[in-house]
Amino acid sequence: MTNGWIDIKNTDMMLIMGGNPAENHPCGFKWAIEAKRNRNAKMIVVDPRFTRTASVADLFCQLRVATDIAFLGGLINYTIENSRIAKDYLLNYTNAAFIVRDNFTLPEDEGVFSGFDVKKASYDRSSWNYAGNLPAPAPPPAAKPGQPPAPTPLPPLPEKVEYDLTLQNPRCVFQLLKKHYARYTPEMVERVTGVPKDQFLKAADLFTSVRKDGDMKKAATIIYAVGWTQHTSGTQTIRTAAMLQLLLGNVGRAGGGVNALRGHSNIQGATDMAGIFDNLPGYLKVPIPADTNFDAWIKRITPKPSKPAQWDSFNYWGNTPKFAVSLLKAMYGDAATKQNDWAFDYLPKVDRNYSWVQLWDNMYNGIVKGMLAFGMNGVAIGPDTRKNIDALKKADWLVVGEIYPDETSEFWKSPGITQEEMKKIQTTVYRLPCAGFAEKDGTFTNSARWLQWKNAALPVPGDCRLDQAIVAQIFLKLRDLYKKDAGKFPDPILKLTWNYTDQSNPSLAEVLKEINGKTFVDAEDPATKVQLKAGQQIPGFAWLKDDGSTSCGNWIYAGSFTEAGNLTMRRDAGDPSGLGVHQNWGWSWPANRRVLYNRASCDLEGKPWDGSRRQVWWNEGQQKWVGNDVPDFKADSKPSDHMGPFIMNPEGVGRIFAPLGAFADGPFPTHYEPTESPVDNLLHPKQTHNPVAKVFKSADDKYGSVKDGYSIVCTTYRLTEHYHYWTKNNPMNVQLVPEPFVEMSVEMASEMGIRGGERVRVSSARGEYIAKAMVTKRIKPMMIDGKITYQIGIPIHWGYRGIAEDEGKTAKTTANSLSPAAIDPNAYTPEFKGFLVKVEKA
C-alpha cells in the first residue's frame, strides 16, 4: 500500500475492485466501515460477483472477469472529458507535461506500441522515452567468452526533459494519454466489460466527484488485491489505477493512494526481503551476465535524474551503490572488500526467468531435479494441477516442510494415479514437520508496510522444527561438504557470514539486527551531529555508505532495530493527530513513514490541500518539512526548489507515462483479453491478447476456446471461512463451510436444469472440477458485445486431502486443475482468474 490500513478511515471515497476485503481482510475492512460510519464516505465495488464487500457498498457494478483495464480506462477517459482533474497536482507532481519522443506510437488499431518485433514476440522499448538531451547510444558491452552476446542495453532517460505546462503540445504525455483513452467510451466499456452504460456513468461520476469543480479537499482511495494481479495483464491493471489516482491527485493524501491488500500475513515481508528471483533485498535489481563487474552492474541499475531543467529531483535510487555495498558487506562481511569488487562475483547472475511457473515447467522438462517446498502447496496453488503433479513425478526428490500432509506432499496419491503408475514414480519425498504461525516469533510485515514483532505463543510440538533451524542446518551441512570436498566455486558458500549465537538455530532478533545494519567505524551525521561508535546499529538508511564501512541486510528496513532496541516490538497506540498514524506502534518502512509520497498532500507552497487532514507541511520558520507523519521527502528542500514528491522516480514526479524498461507490455496500459476469452478484443481486434505475456506450451498445457465448447467464463477466489488449503484440516472451518461448491447464476442453472446442491462437472482444456452447484442471484448473466455470456466462480479451498476429503465427502478435485499456465510478463503471476470452461451435471 502507498497508504495504510488505518488510514483508510480518513477517506471520502473508496473504489474497491479486484479485491474482496470484507471476505479476505475482515479485520482491515473495519477501517473502510469506519470511514462510512464517521465520514459518510462512499464505497463503490466493481467485481465479477456480488461479494460480501458489495453487500455493504453504496454502488455495485458487475464486470466481466479480466476486463478491469477497460473499466479503469473508461474512468480515465471520463475524468479527462469532465475536467475532474487535479490541475496543479497533475502539472507539477506528474510527468503529464513531459514531451515524448517522436518515434513513439500508441497501439490504436494495431494493438501494439512502437517497437514490437513479431518474430521475437518482444518490444524494443527505446522509443518509449521522453524528448530531451538524449546522449548518443552506448556501444553494446563486449560478450564474455563462451557466453551468448549480451542483449543491447536500453538507452537512458534524457537528463533534461522537454515539457509543456500548457499541456497543449500534441506529443506531451497528457495529450497522448487523452488520445489513447478516447477509445474507452462508456459504450465501449459496456460492450467489453458488460457493465451497462448508465451504471458505469453513475460509478464514474461518483468516484471522480471528489474533484468536482476543482475541489482539492477530498481524497479517494483505490483498494485492490489478487483480483487485479492474477491476469496476464495484471501489472498493467494496477498501472491504470495508479494513473487514475495521479490524474485525480489522490496519491500521497490521507485517505487516498493505491492500496494493495496483500494475502499471506507476511507476503509483504517476503517481497521486501526478495523471496523472488529478480530482486535483491530492498528491491535492488539482480545482476545479469552482461554486468561484467560491480561497476557495470551499479552503472546499469543506478538511475540518474531525468526532468525539466527548472525542477529538482531527489532521485533516491541514486544511492543504490550505498545500498548494494552495504548488502554485500552484510552477506560476506570481511570477505567483501573494495579490492575484490565487494564479492560481486559471489552473486549469481540471473540469466533468465526463474519465476514460479517457469520453475515447475523446468521440473516438468527434467531441468529442475529437486525442490524444497516450504509451506507452499504447489500442486494445489499453482495453475494447471495436472502439469504440476506430472512435474513432481519426474523430479528426483521433493522436500516438503509443512504442518499437515497436503496435496503436494502426497502427490502420488492424487486421484487418477493407478497403483501401477504409483510404483513407477521414482521421486524421493522427504516430509519435514514444521512449526505453525503461533509457534514462531519474528516480524510480520503487513500490507501497510508495518513491521510488527510477534512472540511465539506455544512451544514447537514434538519433532517439529522452526524454518530458520531447518535452513540453517541445511546450510551448515552444505558448507561442511564444500569444506571437505571443495567444488566448482565454494567461496560464495564458505565466505557467507553466519555469525549467529546459535548457528544451527539463529535467533530472528539477531537476524533483524543484521537486516537493520550497523557501522564498522565511528561515524557522525553532519546535519544533526548525531554520533555512532564502531559496531553500533545504524538509525536509518541515510547512514549507509558505499565505502564498505556499513553493512545492511535490507536498506528499506534500516531503522527497525537501532541502538534504541527492536522498534518493531513497540505497542504505543497513541495517535495525537487522529489520522491513524500511530507513530510508535511497530515500525514501518521506509523510515517509519506511514503514508508514502506525503509531500504531495500539500500544494506548491507546502500547505496541505485539506486543513482537516494535515499530514506534513513546510515550516517556514524552521526551514524544513515537518508534520504528523514522517515527511517522505528531502527535509530541507524549499517548496520554491520544485522538488518532485515521487522521490523514488528519477523524474521526481509520478509517471503517467512509464518510460523505457519500466514495463514489458507498454508505457500506457491497454486492454487485452485473457488467454482464453469469449470474444475478440473490441478495442483493437488485430491484437486480442497481451503480445508479450508468456503462455506455456507442453503436452499438459492445453488451451480451449468457444468453438471447442468452452463458452463459460470462470474465475477462482477465496472465502472468509477458509485459508487456502490449510483450514480444510480444521474442524472449526470445515463446520462453517463443509463442502466445495461452484457459484452460478439462476439463469444459467435454470437453462441447464441444475438445482442448488446438485453435483456439477466444470471442465477446461486442462482438467475438471466436480462440486455442488450454488445457484445464486449474486452472479448475473452479462451482455458482452451484445451476446449473453455466463460467468461462474469457484472457491479454491479443497483438494484431495482434508477432513471432508478423507471421509470421502468430496470429489477430490482441485480448482486449479482448470486454470492455465499463462503469466503476466512483468510480475509473472498466473492467470487464475478468467479462463473458459464448460459446465454439465455430474
Partner: protein, 297 residues
C-alpha cells in the same frame, strides 16, 4: 459460571414473589446489531462456540453461505444470509445475526411451567437454568423468534446466554469482542438505542435507505438485542424476523386468564360440592326403587 453481580427479577413457574424484587433499579444491557455493516464473516459464530465450549456440529451444503438452516441446541448464534432484490432492481445480500433477543417480557419465561428453569436478571438477560428444566418444550412454543432448541438426548433446552458469565465480570459478550468491523456494540439499552437511532438517521439521509430504522419490538416489551435495519418496514426479508412479535395468545391465555378460570373452576367446583352436600346431604337410596324380582314399581 460466576453470577456474582446478577440479581434475579423474574422466575418461571414460580409460586410467590421473587426475593428482593423491585428493591433496586439498574440499567438493562443491550446488544446493538447494525445489519448495514455486517459482512457475514462469522467471527461471532466462532467466538460463541469457543467461549461456551460448544462441540463441533456436522453441517452440509445448503445452497447458501449460511452455516446451517437454524440455531441448534449447541449452536446459539447464526448469521442468516438472504438475497433480496430492491424495487429498483438492485440486489441486497442481507446478513442478520440471529440469536436470543432477550425480551423484556420473555415468552419463554411466561410459558415455562418449571420453577426456576428460566430466569430474568435485573439487567435484562434471560437465562436458562438447565438443572431445573423438565424438557417439556413449552418455551419453544412461547418464543416468537423460534430460538430455544432442545438437546434430543438430554431433553434440556439451550440458547444464547448473552454471556452472563462475561457480563457479570464487566466484560462484553464474546460475539461483541470478536466482531472485526465494529458492527456489534454493547452497552446500556439507553446508550444503544441512542446509537442505533443515530445510525438509522445517517442511513436515511446519506445512504439512500429511506426506510432505515431500529428494530426494538414493543410486543415483547422491547428487547435486549436491537437491530439497525436498512428497511425497518420489512423485517421479514432478514430471514423471517417477525414484524410484530409477541408472546403467543395461547401462552398468554393459558398462563393468564385461563389459569384463574381454571382455579375458579376448581375451587368453585369443590365449594359447589360442599354446598350441595350441606344442602342435599349424601345421595339417598329409596326402598321403593328396588322390588324383589327386579323391576321398579
Amino acid at each position: 459460571m460466576s453470577q456474582a453481580t446478577l440479581r434475579v427479577q423474574k422466575i418461571s413457574g414460580h409460586a410467590g414473589t421473587v426475593p428482593g424484587q423491585d428493591t433496586q433499579r439498574e440499567p438493562t444491557v443491550c446488544k446493538l446489531i447494525d445489519t448495514t455493516t455486517c459482512i457475514g464473516c462469522k467471527a461471532c459464530e466462532v467466538a460463541c462456540m469457543e467461549w461456551n465450549d460448544l462441540p463441533f456440529s456436522e453441517t452440509v451444503f445448503g445452497n447458501t453461505y449460511q452455516t446451517m438452516p437454524e440455531t441448534r441446541w449447541n449452536y446459539w448464534n447464526l448469521i442468516l444470509f438472504n438475497e433480496h432484490e430492491r424495487e429498483d432492481g438492485s440486489l441486497m445480500w442481507l446478513m442478520r445475526k440471529n440469536q436470543c433477543m432477550h425480551c423484556a417480557e420473555p415468552g419463554c419465561l411466561a410459558a415455562c411451567p418449571a420453577d426456576g428453569a428460566i430466569v430474568q436478571y435485573t439487567n435484562g438477560i434471560v437465562d436458562f437454568q438447565q438443572a431445573n428444566c423438565i424438557g417439556c418444550g413449552y418455551c419453544i412454543t412461547g418464543c416468537p423468534f423460534d430460538i430455544p432448541k432442545m438437546n434430543p438426548k438430554t431433553h434440556r433446552v439451550f440458547k444464547c446466554t448473552l454471556c452472563t458469565d462475561r457480563v457479570s465480570e464487566n466484560l462484553e459478550p464474546a460475539c461483541i469482542k470478536s466482531c472485526p468491523t465494529g458492527c456489534l456494540h454493547f452497552g446500556t439499552k439507553e446508550d444503544m438505542l441512542f446509537e442505533a437511532n443515530r445510525r438509522a438517521k445517517q442511513l436515511r439521509e446519506h445512504s439512500n435507505f429511506p426506510n432505515a430504522g431500529v428494530y426494538d419490538p414493543r410486543g415483547v416489551g422491547g428487547t435486549g438485542v436491537i437491530y439497525v435495519l436498512h428497511d425497518a418496514s420489512q423485517p421479514e426479508i432478514y430471514g423471517g424476523l417477525p414484524a410484530n412479535p409477541h408472546v403467543p395468545w395461547s401462552v398468554k391465555l393459558w398462563k393468564g386468564p385461563l389459569k384463574w378460570l381454571g382455579n375458579v373452576a376448581m375451587i368453585g367446583g369443590l365449594i359447589g360440592l360442599f354446598v350441595h352436600y350441606l344442602r342435599y346431604g349424601p345421595k339417598a337410596r329409596e326402598e321403593e326403587d328396588i322390588a324383589p324380582g327386579g323391576t321398579k314399581t
